[in-house]
Symmetry: D3
Subunit: 247 residues, 6 copies
């Protein structure tokens, strides 16, 4: 079974980016259950990183093209590889296979791990949309706080140690000041640092890595034979009419 | 003072559509307070109508281009002319002038008119996103229900009488079965039918026309000297960095 | 078109008070849209200021007399000029024209300006009733906090600079500690200081002046042809029976 | 120990009313625990019955006079004898003794009896204010519904059998359609019919009589040595200043 | 009339414990209204104290045996003497008489005393379950915070002064930092210290003693002729079938 | 890796029950991912089925013994095989490995599949506890309804066709009347009928089988390297003290 991990931004325009795409694919493949094959694509005309609603919207059309193509190509499911879950509702409208958003998957996993969770993310500019996401997922009652390390996405990996120590610092404050008993890392580039266990060991609470959460939730859905409700995410009416008409 | 009404879909590709654009501009101009001049534009490569999350996303990039251009051209504010308020958060990130969404404006006005309001919209496919909108606006406690007339956007004006009688029928059920004391019409093409007073007279509760609500809310904000919070809708960080760098 | 601004307290008993009434009328008239004429009355046997539930109740009977008289005299709408919105529900029961409460109007405008707003008000004694008001308005999900400057209503104008600097201080704390991105001034005497732009410039977020919000919301409702739902605010049953009987 | 039951309306203007006041006092005295003496007063210039926000406000000033007098006369506590709890917050501001509202007491008792309760009240015109009351009490999560028998207050006792059969009918619908497992009678005149056990036996769920709930809650508070928080209900600031000044 | 106070833990295994049981019975009897006789039992094979969900569950089977026996023996009602209200739902399923939980009773009384209450309890380990309890009771909207003195149950009485001073310290922080205007003591061993008035005098807000609240609420329910809804707490179906079969 | 599925009731007391245990183990093993071995145990002195809070409590002590034994025996995780998730919080206090409750797992999966889900369960007697469960899980905002087929647990498999047709009937009503777009089967004996796909095909929405959800969620947690937060579920304090003392 093959699943597709879609990077909604443009990483393939530089050699460095291409190597990072390869590294991420390898991380995902290592995590995958036996029998799961993970492919990865990016959106070459998407934004270089997503730190605003504006960039989220710019990433969506290209992402949706990949989702539709994956369904036609027989993939068993897809992951939209950004913690903003950009275009997730539209993706689910367009296809029958399960499409997983890392924010949704991480928040649901965080819900089972404790009573209140905090999200540690990159910049203040995305904090409000994280709160809206928690409501869409349906778990806002359990969201203790969203805190930002104040490091742009593209800087996270440049100084890995500083990034980790900032995540630890904010994680401690989320636990001590906001009452969180569980953390989720709110950015895929944070997840691909693979530092969640270091942070968990230091802060003393479980840390949900969105890379892991997204892949494991997708495998769980596929394993349970489930896909998203077409009553919740109906095929766009004019598209449905066209499909009927062209039969 | 000039304000811009942006049609996020493509109406100008046919003569009929062009005439409808002119008609809508005339409606808006007639409603405008003395001293307000209303311009109107559409998004020629946008969807023909918006009845899904998918079409919402497709409409956003072109809409945002108009918003940015309007701000540069000195408009005092803009309205995103779709009841889904597509791209509203991003629009507010990009500019300093107020940008109004008809759903938000209508729901806020409905909140002052009574205790519980219902939205009468076009198709079941947009009902869940209306509920999410009510939460984003912050008024979900007052939302009694969302009901769909089951008439596609592009059919509404073709049989105006049938559309009105369906809106009346669902309005009565919203009042009688869902406990609503106020209605909002959940589609701009419904609003431009200008049938809200007919419906209100029949159902016996106030009916918020989103065309009116959006324009009056925009005038109210401008009149009160207010624009959206840049702490809530910060300029995208990389764009802000670019602006600083290019000074 | 004429609208009536009702001061629910007694200001006209001293020359100083009479001059303040005149000043407030001039402020309102200056703010009004072309074609709107603003009259102002006070409640001579009302309390000298409203800083408790007790004083709110004392102000209501006289306020309601003015509301009824205004409707009979053909006013297009009325504003109850106290941020506690005293007697607003009863006023709407008694008349068909729109009656606006400054707290409701300000909170609804604050909702469109950002994600979370705080109210800056006078004394701790009114803080709980502000929270209840936010719930009645339907927007308690967006209320970040209510903070009191600890200056009685009647002292606000005596030391304008101190009042403004306290409002700025609490506004900064609301933003920094409570997560607000928008402020509303929770007292009409604060509003008539006309310092909202000074505060906004200092704190860096929009500040809703309840004087402006109330007038602009009333003009917006009238402009949109809307009045409050009689299903939400029915005429008192025995009064309705009397009206029917006396026909 | 003496407690005062305040009728916020005018019952003593007719002989019939005076006899009804005596009857109600006798009912209360019969319910009282050993050692509790119940006095009763009405508000002669209050409304003849309370079926609107308007009438609630008219009843408050006279009610508050009685509350203050009772405190000075050494009563151990007071009950505001209307299910709208009119002026309850102000009453608590003015005195140190506990003041109980029947709606609050009934809703709190209903909360312990089951998972979801419904209120059966008189007219549609008071339904929205019951919902607001449930929120003020803090128990809106447990409110299943509010249903009105459509019988004015002053008619309830005229046809006792019809009133009871309507309460039973609506109680059944609250249980069957709204998911209530407990009922509260939402009007003191309903309570003084003393039909709650008949209704409970028929509908099969407990029925909270607000007359009993108010008196028993007041006795419980006094018995536990508790009175309302002055932090929640502070003495009105100017009144407090006056008390300090006059020492 | 006799009521039973059930200690869900094992206190009778030592002489000291037996004397404490006697002391607690005397406290309860002193508080009881004229005509109420209070008996007390413990659960000898229960936990020595309850500071975890684990110990709560261990205490339930023995507690339920006492509840059933009390009903058969003609008691008018029972109190489950632990602030976790362990097994309260099951107890209500098994019998027709009212069964009161001190947490539920205290939280409901706290709701009438102010706008927001805090619970002062023993250890961090029980804080999350207190929050869940507040939701079950239906009053989570009014819960300001839960704070733990960090003293185990069995240590509370050993250094009474230190315990009281810690409760005062946390009470002050609940009021000053969390916005509480009312406190409830979240442990029966705290209640039996009978220090609530000392704490209230120091902190300046009412303090609900769960011993008093439970007994007074039980007396109030019995006095009002009320017992828990069998629709909410139905007799276990197989047990009901058995009862029918054995008639 | 081995995981343990614990039946909290007594099934092994009859041959029929023993065969059913074997069948359930085979179903679980068939579902398991490659590398997962599923063992199964029951609680011989537990209740024959769980249809009340009373029976839940009776099942907990024996269940917790199994959980502790499994942790000592090196299992990677455990499932408490009852949709009431009895004792789940205590189980997580006692061990470091993940312990999954089928209700929690099913509700979280239902959250990702749509906007609103309904639970189809056995008897009315467990409906209120399902609602409480949804709140504990943190997803009550998404719970559309809980509906009962009115068939006792032990009857479900006796007339499989009738059980399935009742589940379909209620599923249709949940979708049509309650607005659900996703269903979850609220009883493990329902799940082991393995009829979820039949129901899904008929009703037209995804149906979460709690057997599948629990196993896949446990595998996902183990695969992501996650276990429950010890800050949320701390080891019982006296037990922790004992462990420290006995080192």
């Amino acid at each position: 079974m093959k699943v597709l991990y879609i990077l909604p931004g443009s990483l393939s325009r530089t050699d460095l980016g291409t190597r990072e795409i390869d590294r991420r694919r390898a991380v995902l493949q290592r995590l995958a259950a036996p029998g799961t094959e993970v492919d990865i694509v990016d959106v070459p005309d998407g934004p270089s990183s997503i730190e605003s609603a504006y960039e989220e919207y710019l990433s969506v059309p290209g992402t949706l093209v990949h989702v539709q193509a994956a369904a036609r190509a027989g993939y068993a499911g897809a992951i939209i590889g950004c913690f903003g879950d950009p275009g997730l509702d539209a993706a689910r409208e367009l296809v029958e296979m399960p499409v997983v958003g890392p924010a949704e998957a991480s928040m649901l996993m965080a819900c089972t791990l404790g009573h209140r969770f905090s999200v540690i993310t990159v910049l203040e500019s995305v904090v409000p949309s994280m709160r809206h996401l928690a409501h869409r997922v349906g778990v806002s009652e359990k969201l203790a706080s969203v805190r930002a390390v104040d490091i742009p996405v593209l800087e996270l990996a440049k100084n890995r140690e500083r990034s980790i120590s900032r995540m630890i610092e904010l994680g401690r404050r989320a636990v001590g000041e906001d009452g969180a008993d569980t953390l989720a890392l709110g950015c895929m580039s944070m997840g691909f640092l693979e530092a969640h266990q270091t942070i968990a060991a230091d802060v003393g609470v479980p840390v949900v890595n969105p890379v892991y959460a997204a892949l494991k939730m997708l495998e769980a859905l596929i394993g349970a034979g489930l896909a998203h409700s077409k009553r919740a995410y109906p095929i766009p009416p004019k598209m449905a009419a066209f499909q009927v008409a062209s039969r």
